[in-house]
Symmetry: D2
């Protein structure tokens, strides 16, 4: 299913439950942060290496998949409410990032070039 | 551009900068939470109504669009690292949500039915 | 009990459980963000007015009290690990804030003066 | 300075700037999450070991100290608004944690005993 179709489905899902009253951008940003924290919770006491190896743990992966889906669901809902085209937004941001993190200057360095 | 193409592009972007060493699931979950907080920061002192009206503020909307793109970018990166199909994950979660929030019982109530 | 005594108690609590291996500053910052999200979750679908009135809801208040305690517990743990004196840090920050938010310029405006 | 005195000072600081209109529990929980994210940002690309060694980096430590102070400031503000005694809340939570994480069962395991 494409993002556009998911977006329409979610709008309908909310409408049928009278949830639009709750889905203000302010509240959706809070819901997003809560869902991301449920993902962070899975990784908080793991070493980085354990977080890489989690891919082999079927039970944990099922949970992670649900949390990641929840994040995308709220992100799609928020983008819909603010009439933002998600994929176009990413394409534009990617183009900005090409300038912000020039290949050679950013080698082995994840911090924004301008910050250094 | 579709998610799959964006995912390939981002993997290449990271590879060219030797950033895969930083992109463990643990670190990407942290980066996700930081990006979401930059979105929350925009809304924190606004009333809900002001957050709805922000759609008419071109300058703020440009900023929001960037933050939302950043969130999706890290989400795509994380899904790629964990070999999760984002759209399929959402479709499966939607089906779970149909059961978790039955239409009639969830009317006007955003809290999970089971929690009440 | 004062913060210093709580800090010593928590250090001992962690030591008895061999938890110091988990309590790196990186991990404690993640744990902090997870605890704060559990607080945000309580308020996410409430109106601001409902969030003010929650003080009269004994059951919710018991929950909020626990979440707030969890946040302070991890904050004290992190400060201990980084040898930061929490109260002194606040006193110094307050002094910075006096300059950052001059009384007259900040009237009715919660955004940092410099940002405007 | 003790927490109680800081709390009174902060209440006065907000009153002089007409900020009480912004300081609802909902908004303060958002502000808390934003401040914690600024702390997480410092650690997101560091290894756990680098996060431990950061204590020797004076410049980074000054920044961390400010972020930690901001978190405590908003936590004190929120507790004040909800008439919660922060230190008492921690003492009560500590007593709950003694039961939730029995010494022997929790050895080397940071996950809540009940969850396993």
């Amino acid at each position: 299913m494409e993002i556009e179709k998911i977006s329409t489905y979610l709008a309908n899902f909310a409408k049928q439950r009278n949830w639009d009253q709750f889905h203000t951008p302010k509240n959706l940003s809070m819901a997003l942060s809560v869902e991301v924290a449920e993902l962070v919770e899975i990784f908080q006491w793991l070493t980085e290496e354990q977080s890489v190896q989690i891919i082999h743990d079927e039970k944990e992966m099922a949970l992670i998949k649900e949390e990641i889906a929840d994040i995308l669901i709220y992100l799609i809902r928020l983008a819909d409410k603010l009439e933002i085209d998600l994929e176009q937004a990413v394409v534009e941001k990617i183009s900005l990032n090409e300038k912000k993190y020039p290949k050679e200057l950013s080698k082995d360095n994840a911090i924004k070039y301008n910050k250094r």
